[in-house]
Structures are given as structure tokens and as C-alpha cells.
């Protein structure tokens, strides 16, 4: 139902006339668009549309009032923080109200109790800078420096810095969420007072539900406030240097240092990661894909393809690197100790330290995912699994094999097995793939590849992240549960009986498969007949 003048006036009275618009040009500015994360694919073309109206609240109370108006008048709405990361955070139905949360960018740092409190409009890099100025750091990662910290944590939130801490929900403390009908739910210690220090009870601990595995894109409500745990860091300044596009943080080498090692084989990569975790050293440990090195070297996309074009299946297959970030959290002596332990471990596995730049270009403050778009000007998609450290490295070769079937349109990657790393001191293993294609090629196979990836993960028992809103729920749910889909839909129906909050998520990918003729032959799973077409 289109937003009537009467409802528009009601909404306008909440946010003010400056912060609401149904002008078609303003709304066009919120199109998902053919560039970006998985945008331009069938999902973007078939499932997304421009909003019918945009509103920008400033406070939680305003969000509540807006949502209540929507609920009362059957206006579908979509929460939107920074808009990065593609079609799934954009309206999927006509005449939706897009609730742009960028004005809710409050920030409080509690140095004494090691947390920050942020609104959904606050992005990662300013938070990290503030933290580092106060002897702390946060692990947000995922969407990158310029993405909303809250959206990141309820969506992804892992990065190489997750080496010490693991899955993102561990870092979410007191949280405030406006439920789909406008009711306010406070989690953790916020349920009892205005102190977000504690994430678990005495209030309801719904954090896992809220974020699902890779986020539910606001279909269960709008997070308006979140406290995020910070971790102790070292005190020396990481000095910004260089001029765009070649900027980096110069590292104080006695306290922070990256060291790249080459090792003889994948087994040694995994073993060294496990040992580093068990020794409880380092701030990040990762195996990076070879094409990242080409991205780092290239000054432009044409140069990237020149460099990458020289690789072969053999060179990619024999590229065994372990990249370790050492941090002297407490002292230079601790750093020296960690480095000695690291060298012992690497000696044992036959690792050789390579010359490594004393700077950080990508991770500590940046989580610089935007740079990953350089080579094609706009595309990346991922599969990522969090598993045991012994299981996750096996994911790469499986995935690489599946990619061959879809190459082209996927870029030639010479069997690249992706990247993997340890989380939570070796307790978890993480494997991720970035895949690229030219949006002007026939991209239907990419849509098919996406679903085929899910089937591969199910078959090989990789605990994929591509559950729920990233894949057909009726494909993944029965396999990961066995009733994940039923559980999630019951929760959705309970929280949002009218399905006003970002419909049709979490069934959006199921709907896409129904709507896209080129996907029909992929469907070998059961689903109810009443899935909207």
C-alpha cells in the first residue's frame, strides 16, 4: 500500500520535514544499484526496488514511533544504516518506507569498563581510532571501515583480528532493539537500568536470535543502540602515512608488527596456526589468497590483471603463506617473547620469515573490504564457513573445484583455495572466498553458483554462513537444524505477525528462486506452495 498523504504527515511529525522525503529523485538515491556486493545479479534485479519514501530518525523513540505508524497502517519498512553490502539491505517490496539510520551516530567510550556504545549510524574506523587513542581496540571487521558497526556485528563481524576472540556475538553487550511492532526490547543489563555493560541476563538474551548466523537484515526489528566490548591494546600510536590511494598505518615495530612466513605446505599452514593459537600469542593469523598480493601491488585494475594473468595453477597451488600480526599488548618484553615463540613454531614447521612492510594497509583500522573491488570495479561475493581448524581448510579446495564449473563468468582464479585463518586462539577455523565476475557477462550462472555453493556445503558438512536470508531457507533450514527454518519462521511470526519489517526476508531467497526462471532447475528441495511468487 502506498504511503498516503495522511500517513506521510504523521511520519513527518516524528522526524521533521527536513528528514523525510518521497521525492522520486531522493528515493532513486537509495537504489541498491548494479555495483557492489552481489549487486547486479539476479537477486538485485528481481528482488530489489527503490523505496516509496525515506525517513531519517535521530532517536530510538523516533524509530519506535515510525515503526508503530507503519505497523498500524500496513506500511512495509526496511532499516538501513550505511547501505553498503548490497541488495539484501534494500527494499524488496514496492512502496516500502526506508528508515535511514545514519543520523543515529551516537558514540560513548567507557574506558574504565572496556566497551563502546554506538548507534546504527556509527561506522567502524572512527570507533577503532577512538579506541586506540584510549589503549583499546575493537574487532568489527566484515563490511569494512565505512560500514555500520552494529550492522556489521549483527551481520558478519569477523576479521583477522578475530584470532583472539571468535564469533562476533561474543562482543555484543547491552543492546536495544525496536521490535517490528514498535515495542522496545532491551537486552542484557540494559533491561534493568541504563548500563549496557553486560550482554547476558538478567534480561532476555536474544543476541543470537537477533543476529542469526550472518544477520537477518532487520527482519526481526531495528537495533538502535549497542554496547560493544573493547579489548586492551598497546599504547603506541599507529601513525597514518602516505597519500591516497597509498595510505597506511605505520606500525611501532617494538609493539606491533606483521610478519609474513612462507611454509612448505598447507598442512604446515594449519599446524602453525593451531600452535600459534595454543601458545596464545598474536593478534591475527591468516593465510591470504595470492590475488590479494596482486591487489596490493597494482596501481590500477589493468595492472592487477597484468599481474594476476602471470599466475598459473601451479604457482597458486604452491603458495603457502602465513601472515601473523604480533602485538605487544602489555610491553615490549611481551612482544619479544611472543616473537621468539612464533619463530620457534615457524622453525618447527619449516616456515621462513619474509620481508614484511612495517605498516598495516588493510586490517587494524580499515577492514578495508572496499579495496577488494579494485579489479573489476564493483563485484565480490563470498562463501564463508566457521568450523574447526581441521575442517575449514578442506572447504577451500572443494569450493575451488565447484568454481571451475562456473568459470566463466567467474574470473580465472587458477584453483585458488581462498583464505583461511584461526579464530579464538585456534578453537575455530574460518574459510572465506571472494569471487569476481564482470557484471556485463551473463550472470545467471553466478546466481546458480550461489545456490550450488550451499548444496556443496551441505553435502560436505561445512557449517556454512550462508544460512537464512542469504540462501533459500527451505534449502538450508532442514539441513542445519533439522528445523532451523521452522524455528526462524516461528520467531518471525511471533515478532512480526504482519511481516512488515523488511519483507519477505527471511524468505527472500526462496522467493527469488521462484521468480527467476533460470533458477528453477536448481530447485531440488521441498517448500510450501504459498511462498510468494
Amino acid at each position: 500500500m502506498a504511503i498516503s498523504k495522511e500517513i506521510y504527515k504523521a511520519l513527518e511529525s516524528v522526524a521533521g520535514p527536513e528528514y523525510i522525503s518521497d521525492d522520486p529523485v531522493i528515493c532513486e538515491g537509495y537504489r541498491s544499484g548494479p555495483g557492489g556486493y552481489e549487486a547486479g545479479l539476479g537477486y538485485e534485479r528481481v528482488m530489489t526496488t527503490v523505496p516509496g519514501c525515506v525517513i531519517m530518525p535521530r532517536t530510538t523513540e523516533e524509530v519506535q514511533r515510525i515503526v508503530k505508524i507503519c505497523y498500524r497502517n500496513d506500511i512495509p519498512y526496511v532499516p538501513y544504516s550505511t547501505g553498503f553490502y548490497g541488495p539484501r539491505s534494500h527494499p524488496h517490496v514496492e512502496d516500502a518506507l526506508l528508515i535511514d539510520l545514519k543520523r543515529m551516530n551516537d558514540f560513548v567510550l567507557d574506558e574504565k569498563h572496556f566497551y563502546v556504545e554506538v548507534g546504527p549510524g556509527m561506522v567502524y574506523s572512527p570507533i577503532q581510532e577512538e579506541c586506540m587513542q584510549h589503549g583499546a581496540y575493537v574487532v568489527i571487521g566484515g563490511g569494512g571501515a565505512q560500514a555500520s558497526a552494529i550492522a556489521n556485528l549483527i551481520g558478519d563481524g569477523w576479521s583477522p583480528l578475530s584470532h583472539r576472540i571468535g564469533l562476533p556475538h561474543r562482543r555484543i553487550l547491552g543492546t536495544e532493539i525496536v521490535m517490528p511492532d514498535g515495542e522496545l526490547l532491551k537486552m542484557g543489563s540494559l533491561a534493568q537500568g541504563d548500563d549496557p555493560f553486560w550482554g547476558e541476563g538478567p534480561g532476555p538474551d536474544l543476541r543470537g536470535l537477533l543476529r542469526g548466523y550472518t544477520g537477518l537484515r532487520g527482519c526481526l526489528g531495528i537495533v538502535t543502540r549497542m554496547a560493544i566490548k573493547t579489548l586492551p591494546f598497546q599504547p603506541e600510536r599507529l601513525e597514518p602515512t602516505g597519500i591516497s590511494p597509498n595510505t597506511a598505518l605505520t606500525l611501532p615495530e617494538k609493539r606491533v608488527k606483521w610478519i609474513n612466513f612462507t611454509v612448505p605446505s598447507k598442512d604446515e599452514q594449519v599446524k602453525s596456526m593451531r600452535e600459534i593459537g595454543h601458545a596464545e600469542i598474536a593478534g591475527a593469523v591468516t593465510k591470504v589468497p595470492l590475488f590479494w598480493r596482486a591487489i596490493a601491488k597494482a596501481e590500477c585494475k589493468e595492472e592487477f590483471w597484468d599481474i594476476w594473468g602471470k599466475e598459473t595453477e601451479e604457482s597458486v597451488a604452491n603458495f603457502f603463506i602465513v601472515r601473523v600480526l604480533l602485538i605487544g599488548y602489555t610491553s615490549e618484553e611481551q612482544m619479544e617473547y611472543d616473537e621468539r615463540v612464533l619463530m620457534d613454531i615457524m622453525n618447527e614447521v619449516g616456515g621462513i620469515a619474509r620481508r614484511t612492510k612495517p605498516s598495516d594497509e588493510s586490517w587494524i583500522k580499515n577492514a578495508d573490504s572496499a579495496g577488494m573491488w579494485l579489479m573489476c570495479g564493483g563485484y565480490v561475493s563470498v562463501d564463508y564457513v566457521i568450523e574447526t581448524l581441521s575442517q575449514s581448510p578442506g572447504h577451500g579446495p572443494c569450493y575451488a573445484e565447484l568454481k571451475k564449473k562456473y568459470t566463466p563468468p567467474l574470473m580465472p582464479d587458477y584453483g585458488d583455495p581462498g583464505w583461511f585463518q584461526s579464530f579464538e586462539m585456534g578453537h575455530q577455523g574460518y574459510s572465506e572466498f571472494l569471487v569476481y565476475w564482470d557484471p556485463d557477462d551473463d550472470t545467471n550462472p553466478v546466481d546458480q553458483f550461489y545456490v550450488d555453493t550451499s548444496k556443496m556445503n551441505i553435502k560436505n558438512r561445512f557449517y556454512t554462513s550462508l544460512l537464512g536470508p542469504h540462501q533459500p531457507l527451505y534449502l538450508t533450514g532442514p539441513k542445519y537444524g533439522p528445523n532451523y527454518h521452522e524455528f526462524l519462521l516461528k520467531v518471525k511470526n511471533e515478532f512480526d505477525p504482519k511481516w512488515m519489517s523488511h519483507p519477505p526476508v527471511p524468505l527472500a531467497h526462496d522467493v527469488f528462486v521462484e521468480r527467476a526462471p533460470w533458477m528453477h532447475h536448481m530447485k531440488d528441495w521441498e517448500s510450501p506452495a504459498d511462498i510468494p511468487k
Partner: protein
């Protein structure tokens, strides 16, 4: 490279060129925006914290995505594909933008998209489609047409700043082009520049019939009129035999060095003379000992990078080529990323003045927040321009600077107005005035 692969990747090569008169040249750039908003946020490496996080005045002021480059790319793309028509809001969105280049350098940190050219092209399209420019811009165009200056002041008073000891030569290697603002409004800048040149022992001449450079005409998309200004002015300089055209205005500098060649399909080199800003000349003279700055200036000073001297000042080279698989272009393109702007020279000059304590603002060099005055903004959106200047002044206050220096009269005026309106205790100077004061014995 794709051609050499065993599997054929299909992608026909499409021709394009850096010609802003046809928006179709930039459909690729508009369609590949990933909405990372690197155009709006300060480079993450230099991100100063939760204050002063953004570098796009338009996005910061108006908040809706439509005002950021990511929004304009989507709107422009829809227009180029015929899915969206102009309306009043669209025209406002395209012009309520300082075209300051912050988005362009931000985008080119990670992608290779031509955001600045696209925004310029969208304004040209607005004029072509009969909806642009804004009424205030038409007034400037009328002034220029009648009086050859943007203010509509009498043409014969253009050189009224040459008083006292200022004696331009009839013939010299350096041709000083003060521009409209220093000629009519901020004469102190032209006079200081003349004093500096004299102190360095350099003769300079003026154009016999100096006219507005056409910066605003170009910036608002009135290319026919801007091109006429360019042709006249270039011809005048060529006739004069000057080897160097020196400006004290960043906007004039960019117009001569970048926009003229861009409009005329030539490279900056092909102008046949060098275009430099005063700070480039003064810095060289100070470093080779020809200019000595001995008079102390006891102040805590900060420098504001004028957009057109910094991230927008790299020389222009025309480009025509083909785009193929993955958007790669041939022949190889050396993209203008703002990396080689004039950043060091003004700072070196100011540091060389005894007593000056030069401190940086959180948003500096390619991340600087535009003053809000240029590219037709002040004239069409005075409230926005004042807001932008006030935003920047907050930064000046935050670092406790007593003196704010820039190298463009447009910046100086806009800041001065913000300081006056806000009762802010900060002295606003042009760098020519600072140098001039320091060389007085």
C-alpha cells in the same frame, strides 16, 4: 589478458572518452558505484575519530543518500538510461554540491571510477536539457557577458588594485592573472602577490584585456560560454609571449590548468605555457634563497587546502579508449587521483616563517573539508556555503588555531563571513598576505 585465456570471456569493447558533454561516457562509472561511501568518509587510515568523520559537505549537510556521490551516481545512471526525469529536487541535488573532488579521491583509493567528471557531466546535461543552471548562476553568466567579470563590476576597474608601487611590466616571462575576486573584492591578495614577485626580483605583466577565467561557467555546465572564455584567454596569453601564467586563486588555477584543456580537448602541456599558483613559485624562491621571510609572525596557524590547488590540480590529459572485460581500459590510463596536488609547498612556506607554529586540522590534504564557496555553490546556495565554512571552523577551533590560512580568495571570503557571523576569534588570511607580511623588512 582475457583474450589469452583458454575459456573465452565475452565482453565487447565499448568506446568512450573523457568528454563531459556526453553523459553516456560515464555510464560505466555510475553503474559501478558500490555504495561503500569512501567518497563521504575521511580515508579510514586518517579517520580522526568520531568528530570530523566526513569530507563531503553535501552529504554531511543534506544527509539523504541522494546528496552523496553514491546517490548522484544512481540518479545520474537512471537519467542516462531514461528511467528518471529531471525535477526541481534533481536540479537542486546536482548543484548543491561543491564539486570539491573529495568524493573523487575517496573513490579512487579503492576503485577506478571517474566521479568528478561524472558530476561535471551531469551539470552539462542539466544545461543541455534546459533545466540548469540555477538562477544565481545565470546572473553570473550575464555579469561575465556584460562586464567580463563575475561580479558585474565595471571592466575598466579591473586593474584598480595596481596602486602605489605596483608597476606591472609591459612584457615579462610571468603573466600574473589575479582573477575576478582578487581584482575586485580582495585586492589585498593581488597586491600582496605583486609585492612577493617584486621581492623575488621577478617582473610580471598582466593580460592586456583580462577577463573572467570562466570558472563558474564551466562549473555549472555552461560549456559553450566557458569554452569561449577559455579560447579568448588562452589566445591572449599566447599572444603575450608569457612562459608562465601565475595565479593567486586556486579556482583560477584549476580553470586554466585543468578545465581549459578539458574543454578544448588538449593536454595541459599543449596550452603552450606553464600554469602555476603563487605558492609553487614562492616556495621555489624561498628554497633557492631569492625570497627571504624574516619578519616573525607569532601565531598558532593552520592551513586549509583549497580544493582546486590540492586534490583537483593535477594536470589534464585527454583520453579516448575502449573498455573491455572487467572494465579494463586500453590504452592504459593514468588516472588523476589527487595524489600529486599542491600539498607540501604552502606548508613548507608557512613553516619557514619565524614564529609560526603550524598545526594540522584533523581533515587535511586530500581529506580536507571544502570551505563551501566554490563551483557556484556560494552564489546558488549561500546557506549551504556558510554551513560548510562553519563546519570547517569547528575544526579550526578544535585544534586551537589562532590563524586560518588558505590560498584562494573564495575560501578566504567564505571563512571570513563565517567567522564574522559566528563571532569566532580566528584570523583568516590568504597565504599571499602571510608571505607578504613575512618578507617586509
Amino acid at each position: 589478458m582475457a583474450d589469452k585465456l583458454p575459456i573465452r570471456y565475452y565482453k565487447p569493447k565499448s568506446e568512450f572518452k573523457f568528454d563531459i558533454t556526453d553523459i553516456q561516457n560515464f555510464v560505466y562509472d555510475m553503474s559501478r558505484c558500490i555504495k561503500c561511501k569512501g567518497c563521504t568518509w575521511v580515508d579510514h587510515t586518517y579517520m580522526p575519530g568520531t568528530k570530523f568523520m566526513t569530507r563531503c559537505p553535501s552529504a554531511e549537510k543534506y544527509q539523504f543518500d541522494a546528496y552523496g556521490a553514491y546517490g548522484k551516481m544512481r540518479i545520474g545512471h537512471a537519467m542516462a538510461e531514461g528511467r528518471l526525469d529531471w525535477n526541481e529536487k534533481a536540479v537542486e541535488i546536482m548543484y548543491a554540491c561543491t564539486l570539491c573532488g573529495a568524493c573523487d579521491v575517496g573513490c579512487k583509493r579503492n576503485l577506478d571510477l571517474e566521479i568528478e567528471l561524472t558530476l561535471e557531466s551531469l551539470r552539462v546535461k542539466a544545461v543541455q536539457d534546459g533545466v540548469g543552471p540555477m538562477p544565481a548562476h545565470k546572473k553570473i553568466a550575464d555579469n561575465i557577458s556584460r562586464t567580463h567579470n563575475m561580479y558585474g563590476s565595471p571592466a575598466e576597474k579591473r586593474t584598480a588594485w595596481t596602486t602605489g608601487a605596483i608597476k606591472p611590466a609591459a612584457k615579462a616571462e610571468i603573466l600574473y592573472f589575479p582573477g575576478c575576486t582578487a581584482s575586485y573584492i580582495n585586492k589585498e591578495i593581488a597586491q600582496s602577490t605583486a609585492k612577493i614577485l617584486k621581492a623575488a626580483g621577478a617582473d610580471f605583466m598582466l593580460m592586456p584585456e583580462e577577463r573572467c577565467c570562466g570558472n563558474t561557467l564551466f562549473s555549472v555546465g555552461m560549456l559553450d560560454e566557458a569554452r569561449a572564455s577559455a579560447k579568448h584567454n588562452i589566445e591572449e596569453v599566447r599572444k603575450s609571449g608569457a612562459k608562465t601564467l601565475l595565479t593567486s586563486c586556486a579556482e583560477c588555477l584549476r580553470t586554466w590548468k585543468v578545465d581549459y584543456p578539458k574543454m578544448l580537448g588538449i593536454s595541459t602541456e599543449e596550452l603552450g605555457f606553464e600554469v602555476i599558483h603563487l605558492v609553487e613559485y614562492a616556495d621555489e624562491m624561498i628554497k633557492n634563497g631569492a625570497l627571504k621571510m624574516k619578519k616573525p609572525f607569532q601565531t598558532r596557524m593552520t592551513y586549509h587546502d583549497a580544493c582546486s590547488l590540492s586534490r583537483l590540480s593535477e594536470p589534464w590529459t585527454p583520453y579516448e579508449g575502449k573498455r573491455g572485460w572487467m572494465g579494463c581500459v586500453e590504452p592504459r590510463l593514468k588516472r588523476r587521483r589527487g595524489s600529486n596536488g599542491v600539498y607540501a609547498q604552502p606548508r613548507d612556506i608557512l613553516r619557514a616563517i619565524p614564529g609560526v607554529e603550524l598545526i594540522e586540522m584533523p581533515r587535511t590534504r586530500e581529506n580536507a573539508f571544502c570551505c563551501g564557496a566554490g563551483r557556484g555553490t556560494r552564489e546558488a546556495f549561500p546557506d549551504f556555503a556558510t554551513w560548510a565554512a562553519k563546519n570547517r571552523m569547528e575544526e579550526v577551533k578544535d585544534i586551537g588555531a589562532e590563524t586560518l590560512v588558505s590560498s584562494c580568495p573564495r575560501c578566504k571570503n567564505n571563512f571570513a563571513q563565517a567567522v564574522k557571523a559566528g563571532g569566532i576569534d580566528v584570523q583568516v588570511l590568504d597565504i599571499s598576505e602571510v608571505i607578504s607580511a613575512a618578507i617586509e623588512a
